[in-house]
């Protein structure tokens, strides 16, 4: 796959001055964040730091009270709805794995597969050979070829996480937002997930929210620490993890 569209500015995603408040509580407070194309960024921070709210703002679930959220230098995401934003090429994996439980593994991927999303286009739809090949290759990547016909609801927690990552791949987004991908995974699975994300990052921009510091370290990318809705520190994992304030509010002494 190649990204063909010319970028008008360098940043893949640009957030500036973003504020969101819920009943007076400032979930995001003048947040600024810039992610370059092809970058992988890890976001850390204590509970209530605004990590998930930031994801909600980027994907159109929450409208910010103030600020700019610009995708690829041209599209202002604050005016668009979830479906439009998803179709621009922003994929999201949720904290709690949300797959379609009553669909088979394969159908979950078919639904996620990049294709025409309009209602009428899907009435006369049947799988094309390239689409089935793509499904095969994703099943292989997430190691679920043998479980393809199982209902997603009957999968283990770790398998659901992987299926959701597979759905993200099928969507072929330009930017992936991944919320706590290794929650509830074993050490071996955590390691594999880190490898998989690095693999994905070769072609796509990735933002990962994660609490597991071992995992963040394994990714070896630039880290942003959020606190009370704004950026507390940014830099390499070594810089951030030795920052006095980060230790104070998040890592603990």
């Amino acid at each position: 796959m190649s990204e063909m569209d010319p970028r008008l500015t360098t940043a893949q995603l640009y957030l500036n001055g973003v504020s969101v408040s819920f009943d007076g509580f400032k979930a995001l407070n003048n947040l600024a964040l810039t992610v370059e194309p092809g970058e992988m960024r890890a976001i850390i921070g204590p509970n209530g730091a605004g990590k998930t709210t930031m994801m909600d703002v980027i994907t159109g679930k929450t409208r910010p009270d103030d600020g700019d959220v610009i995708f690829e230098g041209t599209r202002d995401l604050t005016t668009l709805d979830e479906a439009t934003i998803a179709n621009l090429g922003i994929g999201r994996k949720f904290q709690k794995p949300t797959v379609f439980e009553m669909h088979s593994v394969e159908d979950n991927l078919i639904l996620a597969l990049k294709a025409d999303r309009r209602a009428f286009a899907n009435l006369r739809w049947s799988e094309t050979a390239p689409e089935m090949e793509r499904i095969e290759s994703i099943l292989k990547t997430i190691r679920m070829t043998a479980t393809r016909h199982r209902l997603a609801g009957s999968l283990s927690h770790g398998q659901k996480q992987w299926l959701e990552i597979g759905m993200l791949l099928a969507q072929e987004p330009k930017l992936l937002l991944v919320d706590e991908p290794v929650a509830g995974m074993t050490d071996a699975e955590t390691h594999q997930t880190a490898e998989l994300l690095k693999e994905i990052n070769r072609e796509k921009t990735v933002i990962v929210v994660e609490h597991d510091m071992t995992f963040v370290r394994a990714l070896g990318v630039k880290v942003t620490c959020l606190h009370e809705g704004s950026v507390l520190a940014e830099g390499s994992i070594d810089q951030v993890s030795t920052d006095e304030r980060v230790i104070e509010v998040y890592l603990g002494r």
């Binding site: 479906a83 999303r117 209602a119 009428f120 006369r124 043998a146 479980t147 199982r150 009957s154």
Partner: protein, 383 residues
């Protein structure tokens, strides 16, 4: 190990073919038993039963339309009786205009109730109903247009769950109050009745009754095929995705409201067809068809048969209505509503998937268990 079939085979799988076969058998056997066998034969079906079965088939079609939106898209409509009644009124208006000078007041244009109310002219919305094709178009358009407008506002505003159910109840209740009024122009609380003929044939005649029964079976079969085609397409997979995780579906880029609006409007049209076939068979349409209780009853049929199965909706409608006919004609008549309520509670508690749903779930579980044994060994990542 691809287990993929052509769309036509997916649409008409074994279960669907078996269902269509049964509908075909009923459509042939019941009229044959009525028309060909002498009344002395033990297999003779009297004409009143043909009309009764025809009524059941119309209810089955209404249940099918509810299952399409509730079972597959999670939209619980407690007002589908409104679309059924609107289709029925469109047919009733056609039948009224066929009466012509045979009415009590023998007015060539105005139906009796209008003469009685001292109206001088036919209201504009009654124009054209003397033509059968126009009336049939209205059978689809009247419920379809109401559903489209209602759905457009409700789904765009993301009204879901119990809130949506409540406003559908309000919709049918409001329509009932409207149709009860004489000046609304649909015959007030008497509704439309005393029909004479349909397409030139006497509605009371034995042959017409059989023809209407067969037409109802054909309508049920065709709508069933449409529903099957829909739910086995990718569109259908999206519907189930919306039912189970609506916001997740949005984040995949699907515009949920367009999917809902399409299936909701289609469902309303099907309910309208059911109502249109119902009216000539029962011989009357009046505002009580809009009663909220009717819509709730239809939902119970679907719950009993099993939502999200299509065939279950049909089975449930026929079983519950057969029970209703049996009970309300005996000494238990006054307890019927208690029985119906009890049935709904029992199904919700002990058989949440309904009859067909429980059977097919059991079947699927068994197959999955076999698959899982074979699959898990291979699926375990190398560690």
């Amino acid at each position: 190990m691809a287990r993929r079939n052509a769309p036509i085979i997916r649409t008409l799988d074994k279960g669907a073919m078996a269902f269509l076969f049964l509908v075909a058998v009923a459509a042939i056997a019941i009229p044959a038993a009525n028309l060909l066998l002498p009344p002395s034969s033990p297999f003779h079906v009297p004409t009143y039963l043909v009309a009764l079965f025809g009524k059941y088939v119309c209810y089955a079609l209404l249940a099918l339309s509810i299952d399409l939106i509730w079972g597959y898209c999670g939209i619980l409509s407690l007002g589908h009786g409104a679309f059924f009644a609107l289709g029925g009124y469109a047919m009733g208006m056609y039948l009224m205009r066929q009466i012509g000078t045979r009415g009590v007041y023998a007015d060539p244009i105005l139906p009796d109730f209008m003469v009685f109310l001292n109206w001088k002219e036919l209201p504009v919305f009654w124009y054209g109903f003397q033509h059968f094709p126009y009336a049939m178009l209205m059978v689809l358009l009247a419920p379809g247009a109401l559903a489209f407008v209602f759905g457009w506002f409700a789904f765009r505003s993301r009204v879901t769950g119990v809130y949506l159910s409540i406003i559908t109840q309000a919709m049918t209740f409001a329509l009932m109050l409207g149709f009860f009024r004489n000046n609304f122009g649909f015959g007030g609380n008497n509704g439309l009745t005393d029909f004479k003929d349909i397409l030139g044939f006497n509605v009371q005649a034995q042959s017409t009754r059989n023809a209407l029964f067969i037409a109802s079976c054909i309508a049920l079969a065709l709508c069933f095929i449409v529903c099957r085609a829909l739910v086995t397409s990718k569109f259908g997979k999206v519907l189930v995705a919306i039912r189970d995780a609506e916001s997740r579906t949005r984040f995949l880029g699907y515009r949920v409201e367009s999917y809902k609006l399409f299936v909701w409007t289609l469902s309303a049209c099907m309910a309208g067809i059911a109502g249109a076939l119902y009216v000539p068979q029962v011989g009357i349409i009046n505002p009580s068809e809009f009663a909220p209780g009717n819509s709730i009853e239809a939902v119970i049929w679907v719950a009993v048969g099993g939502r999200g199965t299509l065939t279950g909706a049909v089975l449930g409608a026929i079983l519950v209505n057969y029970a209703k006919t049996t009970f309300t004609s005996g000494f238990l008549a006054e307890y019927w509503l208690f029985l119906l309520g009890g049935l709904f509670i029992a199904v919700t508690l002990f058989l949440p998937r309904g009859i067909v749903g429980t059977a097919s779930h059991w079947w699927r579980e068994r197959r999955d268990r076999d698959d899982a044994v074979a699959g898990d060994a291979a699926a375990r990542p190398a560690e």
